[in-house]
Amino acid sequence: MSDLSYVRTEMLPQKAPPATSVGVVGWLRENLFSSVGNSALTVVTGALLLMLLSAILPWVFLGIWDAESLADCRAQFAEMYADGRTYACWAVIADRWDQIMFGYSFGNLNEGLYWRPLLGLALILVALSPILYPNVPRIMYVATAATLFLYPWLIWGGSIWGPLTLAMCIIGGIVAFRFASQVMITAFALPVAIVVTAVLIMVVMGPLSNGLASVAALELQPVPSREVSGFVLSITIGIVAIVASLPIAIMLALGRQSDLFIVNKLSTGFIEIIRGVPLITLIFVATVLMKYFLPSHIDLDPVVAVMILVTLFTAAYIAEVIRGGLAALPKGQYEAADALGLTYWQAQRLIILPQALKISIPGIVSNFISVFKDTTLVSIVALNDPLGISGAIRSNSDWNGIVWELYGFIALVFWIFCFSMSRYSLWLERQLQTGHR
């Protein structure tokens, strides 16, 4: 009976996987040549990519960095290559990179002022750190508050006492609010504090800053608003719009969800009106057409006008993104907050907004990225964003005729900023991942 010829009593030792499914070959098979169709696609794409790169890479890396003008570049190429090949003339970047990055105000017009925008940028990074990263000590918010007043001083120059006394007046207002809220309810204390701040700013600020300036004149060379240009301008407008629009957007989103009739209609109206008009129109109205309505001695600062408009524009868009987040929360969350006996603001702050904002992060960040790129629209009102400066560089007889080098450089800088933002948002999403999915 025992005709069982062979029974294996122990497991075979594991063999290495076949050579065709591991390592480079395996990866290639799986990802590039898994079927006839995919193989064909791979070959075609590879050929296209090779063609593209063989055209672009030599152009980029064989370019000239040291030349006086475009004509000089062409002369150098003619000397080097008998067959008339030409590559990039990066000399234009070497000559004018400071104008593109720092604008006319801090570029070589005022030699040795680079430190102002650089320090400003460093301050902004420090100021944003407690907002962006949860592990940074909360005390850093002091730096955030200080930056609000120091950054404009670094960019626009003038006496430091102006921003400082303004800060003092606002601190005075906050102190007044503390006092007032001890003797009356918040609804009354807030207007009182606002009035106190306004009075301080109107009555005390001017004489105080003048007085302090006469004691110790801490002044930076003033920079006219119109001269703030290049990436300094883009970044200034972009950061202001990004930082200031989020709180406004949250208020608008809550307002649009609100049961209070007037709040609801005002928020909805604001959002729909701002969203319904192109940004370029808003900017044009704010800087050019406002001049028709204001008496001529009032000089509306074009940069400030643009900042306000871009902020409101972004806020209207982000408000809708956040409203989406609010709507996505299960009704149970709202009811649970109510059941716990939380007030409206407590519920929003502790339960609703943290969840709604987490859902909205990708949408919010993509709005931030697009607003940063939209800052190039300011060229319509004769402000010099990086693209405006590239046009101005081209209209100089030295560099007249250069196109790709300038656009390429500007695109690269924009890409670095936007890519960092998108990476940060991915990181933040992972940080806030609570595993409910």
Binding site: L70, R74, T86, D95, R96, Q99, Y104, G107, N108, L109, P224, R226, F284, T287, V288, L289, K291, Y292, P295, S296, H297, S379, I380, V381, A382, N384, G388, G391, A392, I393, R394, S395, N396, S397, D398, N400, G401, V403
Partner: protein, 338 residues
């Protein structure tokens, strides 16, 4: 009560607006700077150098004006305007005047409520074509694709010229000179057309200038000049006579180098009147008595400005042509200073 406050505010605002509309010169003096509208960048006429400073033909006139008003040629704020927003910016008060290669036309003068107070450059529209197109005259351009900048008089002239000559063409509208040039070099259009002053510069900046020719025909009149808001005659006078002084200075042989010397008094009464050693022309304009001396000392006379910025010794290399003095067969002519 509330209503009356509101009306009062309106009245004050209206009054302020009325006053301001009447006195650009006073506004300028109070501000301490001339807001001069220039192009965002036109080769030779206005561009920024590597130090970020404005330079060019139009810029020199802004500087002369500032020198005449403030004795300081640097008291200028340059407002860079595109061809689309220049008139809005002027009438809104963003700029006090335009030295922005702006063509003086009937409708701009009358309908747009701007005033042209002089002509600092007599221009005309020309055509550039690739040599291998085999065209030698603009009349052979039947059916050509033409790159054309939008919002300019060139667009209208082009249509007129082709209609008059019974030819058809394919317009390819572009936003600005650099885009136009890039498209042109790629061969997207056969003909590039713009003012002759710009054409030479554009040709010089192409990769292979010798492959292109500028056709001999000038198809339009493009008198370029300073533009101010309608109805402010005092300001108009200041702008007009500062420019006239530069032209007259060339005619009278007053240069940047010798103006200080001549201002002390000469045998020529015309020079004496203009430079203020006889009479008081400048104070009639509400300016300092040596206003034209300052202007000429800052920039030189018309001929010197021309030679320095766009003349034959510069890369732009324009000949004086129509812009020579009337005594030398050109059109530049200043009314007398008396």
């Amino acid at each position: 009560m509330k209503k009356s406050v509101f009306l009062g505010t309106l009245a004050v605002a209206g009054l302020a607006a009325g006053i301001s509309a009447a006195g650009t010169l006073d506004d300028v003096k109070a501000r301490g700077k001339v807001n001069c509208g220039v192009t965002e960048g036109t080769l030779g006429f206005s561009s920024r150098n590597s130090e970020g400073k404005h330079e060019g033909f139009d810029v020199e006139f802004c500087r002369a004006l500032a020198a005449a008003i403030f004795d300081d040629a640097d008291a200028v704020e340059y407002i860079e305007l595109s061809s689309k927003n220049r008139f809005t910016a002027l009438s809104a008060g963003q700029a006090d005047l335009l030295y922005r290669t702006t063509t003086w036309t009937f409708s701009r003068d009358v309908d747009l409520k701007t005033s042209f107070v002089g002509i600092n450059y007599y221009d005309g529209q020309g055509f550039m074509v690739p040599k291998d197109l085999g065209v030698t005259s603009a009349t052979e351009l039947e059916g050509a694709t033409v790159c054309i900048e939008t919002g300019t008089t060139t667009e209208l002239n082009l249509a007129d010229y082709f209609r008059v000559n019974g030819m058809s063409y394919e317009p390819l509208p572009v936003g600005g000179t650099s885009e136009a040039k890039a498209l042109y070099e790629e061969g997207a259009c056969d003909v590039y057309t713009t003012d002759a002053s710009a054409l030479a510069g554009v040709r010089a900046s192409l990769k292979d200038p010798s492959a292109y020719i500028i056709l001999p025909e000038i198809v339009s009149k493009e008198p370029l000049g300073p533009t101010v808001r309608h109805g402010d005659n005092d300001w108009e006078d200041v702008v007009r006579w500062t420019q006239n002084a530069l032209v007259a200075a060339e005619e009278l042989g007053v240069t940047q180098a010798n103006v200080a010397e001549l201002a002390k008094g000469t045998d020529n009464p015309s020079i004496n009147r203009m430079l203020g050693s006889e009479g008081s022309l400048c104070s009639m304009l509400n300016l300092e008595s040596d206003c034209f001396v300052q202007a000429i000392a800052a920039t030189g006379n018309y001929g010197e400005i021309f030679e320095r910025t766009i003349g034959e010794s510069t890369p732009i290399g324009l000949a004086r042509g129509l812009n020579a003095l009337w005594t030398e067969g050109g059109l530049q002519y200043s009314p007398p200073f008396r």
